[in-house]
Amino acid sequence: MGDGMIGNNIIRRAALAGAAALAMVGLAAAPAFAQKTKLTVYTALENDQLDPFKKAFEADNPGIEIAWVRDSTGVVTAKLIAEKDNPRADVIWGLAASSTALFATMGMIEPYAPKGVEALKPMFRSGKTPDTWVGMDAYLSLVCFNTAEGKKGNKPVPTSWADLIKPDYKDSIVMPNPASSGTGYLTIAAWLQIMGEEAGWKYMDALHQNIAQYIHSGSAPCVQAAKGERLIGIGLDMRGASEKTKGAPIDLIVPKEGLGWELEATAIMKGTKNLDAAKKLADWAVTKKANELYAKTYAVVALPGVKAAPVNYPVNAEPGMIKNDMEWMAKNRERILAEWTKRYDGKSAPKK
């Protein structure tokens, strides 16, 4: 019996060796048989978007398999910077353009102009040749108003930023803390751009009286408004829309002064070992098919003519987008955050 086992073992090994040899020959002769390229993609896309995005891309690129590393924008950005000296990501697909622009200045990005990038709306391009990043969709920081709680407390529905400083809303507004959330920063940067710096700070002074909390997240404010935890949330549009779809009694309001926005972008990491596959993803990310996918959750996408009307999304969102000077935002970030922290964060101990 022992002999038999050994005999079997030898046969099995021989068979394996043979198979391995054959496989190697096969590899040399016909690269089509090669293993799929595993592309490591870092992203801050929403969880429920990952699967459809992966399937759609892989269907058109059968040789490539996407492996996602997904977390919130801040975590993914911090991780990418920390890995700078020995990058693990091949591609970024679905991360704030401000983050990718920052990576570009740090020399972390492989510039590449995807096929068909010329067709995109100009504001969705980095402005560099070749492009360092390419936009996919825009997300906005708007106002979520809980109608059920509003009715209970007899509160008027706001229509503008100016409305939000009315005493009606004392201690009932939440917004993201700009020092911990990118959405928070683009919100206050929009105010400073719309109103001018002096008036902008004065506005925030007044608004501070109505703020119940500066939250460490851009999606939490609209979620809190949706659950009636707070009357009004200033924050990410798409969270508000999805909560409304789930049955939350909220209105998504585009303030008439206009609102701040940010792009989600695609970029290739410098030093990737899978440059060809990465380029294929970058190419695919600007196609009509990809934009139609983006359009399922975002109202504003890169490719003109793609009909984007996600459920429960405000219709007047795109015209409300301000002329956003991203360069100004990046250059003045540290100064503005320091000023903001001095004014509001230092004295934000609990109001008893």
Partner: protein, 562 residues
């Protein structure tokens, strides 16, 4: 230095050499999993954002910001209040468990641990369900808000209670009955016995518990983030710098400030340790509580009240996980447990967590217990032992965010021979063991301190090698504590977030991280559901542990009985 002098070497026995070799290995290992990664990040505090050395410039700019002073004060305040509440509660609870006769002791023992089974997200969510704007008991707050100081303290008390209880049970579990008999014979009053025998015996445990709770509260950002409102603390400052602004230099500065409590804890521990004497001498007679109706009734009442508080928070989370859409559609559903709907990894991340937790329990317990034994039983060799003790204390004071980023910088550095660990399950295990090293080390040390060193001297005079005493005597005596450490590691590995959030790869996403992601996406009920699954898993493991404990106590701890 004097150790290198030949004349000293002659005096070293084979045991001494083996032990010293072990301590050196341990120090090297701790340096790799704690010291160097930490330094990889903290060193950034002396650089500007482009990596140029700037000396103390970051510290100067940080200390001149009024916001820092405010946060530091808030951190100290919240930690002090939580400690003052938790330690007496945990002491009474541990006392009831070990020194009185409770009707369903095993149940009380299990319930006390529930908070440790739960991701810190859970108390936050439950408190919002209970006391938030739409909460059931909002009226109890009398117009106040749960967001802020009060919310943090309540959640921290819940979260830290088992940590303190675990240490205090260990401290109180082994006592010499002869001391009590003597006190009794001398006619000492109950109160006097308590203050002259019980408390001094548990002093080391009490101080450890207070230090652990204090630093846990100071470094935790999960609770402060969910329920802290505008109450800024140092740990959320780290979050702001690192996650909000990707400013690692400033994050490192705050991280360094947070190490101050650990340094203090280290000094205090050294001072106390010097005075601690073994409770369980070789001639000791283990104390077995005898029934005493009045005292036992009060103990049962107290434990019941604490248990109800803990179960209320858990129960609220379970109920919340079954709700369709809080607070507007309270009908019940099981849909929230279909995790594939909320996270691409679905239940996979759960199984990853279990795998990681088992790995951490096995690797960590072996390392921590052997390590604590080496540090305790090696003679002299003060410098290296001191290094080990310092490195064992550090992790407790390090916010997970700092440790996690440090792991990236250290393990992902080009040319690091350990780079193969990066983005594997292995690094998650190592990181978790490092992150929770302190309490395991303290528990093992507390248990070891209660064993009379005479065991070793007797073995030595009988020419039994010291490692045989370790495997044949020390380990069996300490087995309950060893199992406690294993369970502690398992449950913490199931719930840890802040450090591993930087380290998981596409194939190794963890359930605790998934729960945070799901909560951020607004699906509170599903996040609560995932938390509940985590709690139930750890609870099941704990039940298995209690059964094993009973079996082992019968087999191996027979000497405890007269």
């Amino acid at each position: 230095m004097s150790l290198a002098v030949p004349s000293t070497k002659v005096g070293l026995s084979r045991d001494d050499l083996v032990m010293r070799g072990g301590v050196v290995l341990l120090a090297a290992l701790l340096l790799v999993i704690v010291g160097l990664p930490l330094w990889a990040l903290l060193a950034k505090g002396f650089e500007d954002r482009d990596g140029k050395f700037v000396g103390l410039a970051n510290y100067v700019s940080y200390f001149s910001t009024p916001a820092l002073f405010n946060s530091a004060l808030n951190s100290l305040h919240v930690a002090a209040v939580s400690t003052v509440i938790v330690v007496p509660l945990a002491f009474l609870y541990a006392y009831a468990l070990t020194r009185t006769v409770l009707p369903v002791r095993w149940l009380f023992q299990g319930v006390a641990l529930i908070p440790i089974f739960a991701p810190s997200l859970l108390p936050g969510l439950a408190l919002i369900y209970l006391f938030g704007t739409q909460g059931f008991f909002k009226a109890l707050l009398g117009g106040g808000s749960i967001y802020g100081f009060d919310g943090i303290v309540i959640a921290q008390v819940f979260y830290c209670f088992p940590h303190a209880t675990l240490i205090l049970v260990t401290a109180l579990a082994t006592a010499d009955a002869r001391l009590y008999e003597a006190a009794d014979a001398l006619g000492a009053s109950k109160l006097r016995v308590f203050f002259t025998v019980t408390l001094p015996g548990a002093k080391y445990g009490l101080i450890s518990a207070a230090l652990v709770v204090f630093t846990l509260v100071i470094t935790d950002f999960g609770i402060a983030k969910v329920i802290g409102g505008n109450f800024n603390v140092l740990a959320t400052d780290v979050y702001k710098q690192v996650i909000g602004q990707q400013n690692f230099s400033m994050g490192a500065v705050v991280g360094m400030v947070l190490l101050a409590p650990a340094a203090l804890a280290f000094v205090v521990d050294r001072l106390v340790q010097r005075k601690q004497v073994a409770l369980l001498t070789a001639r000791a007679v283990p104390l077995v509580p005898k029934p005493k109706p009045g005292r036992d009734f009060l103990a049962t009442l107290f434990c019941t009240l604490v248990s109800i508080g803990i179960l209320a928070i858990l129960g609220m989370a379970i109920w919340g996980s079954l709700i369709k859409y809080w607070p507007y559609n309270l009908s019940l559903t099981l849909d929230n447990y279909d995790f594939a709907k909320f996270d691409a990894n679905g239940w996979d991340s759960y199984w990853n967590s279990v795998e990681m937790a088992v790995g951490a329990a096995l690797f960590g317990t072996t390392l921590m217990f052997t390590g604590a034994w080496l540090t305790e039983k090696t003679r002299d060799f003060h410098i290296v032992r001191g290094v080990v003790q310092l490195l064992a204390f550090l992790p407790m004071a390090v916010p997970g965010l700092v440790l996690g980023l440090g792991y990236i910088f250290f393990f992902n550095a080009p040319g690091n021979p350990l780079g193969f660990l990066y983005a594997t399950m292995g690094i998650l295990v190592v990181n978790t063991v490092a992150h929770f090293y302190t309490v395991g080390h303290l528990t093992a040390t507390t248990a070891l301190k209660q064993i009379d060193p005479e065991f070793e001297s007797v073995s030595a005079s009988l020419k039994v090698p010291i490692w045989r005493t370790f495997t044949r005597v020390t380990t069996p005596i300490c087995l309950p504590s060893i199992l406690d450490i294993a369970i502690y590691l398992f449950v913490n590995a199931m719930t840890t977030v802040s450090s591993v959030i930087f380290l998981y790869s596409p194939d190794t996403k963890l359930a605790s991280v998934a729960a945070v992601n799901i909560e951020e996406a607004g699906t509170t009920a599903a996040a609560a559901a995932l938390c509940v699954v985590i709690v139930l898993t750890s609870a099941a493991v704990k039940v298995a542990h209690l059964l094993a404990d009973r079996f082992l106590l019968d087999r191996l701890q027979a000497w405890r009985r007269r």
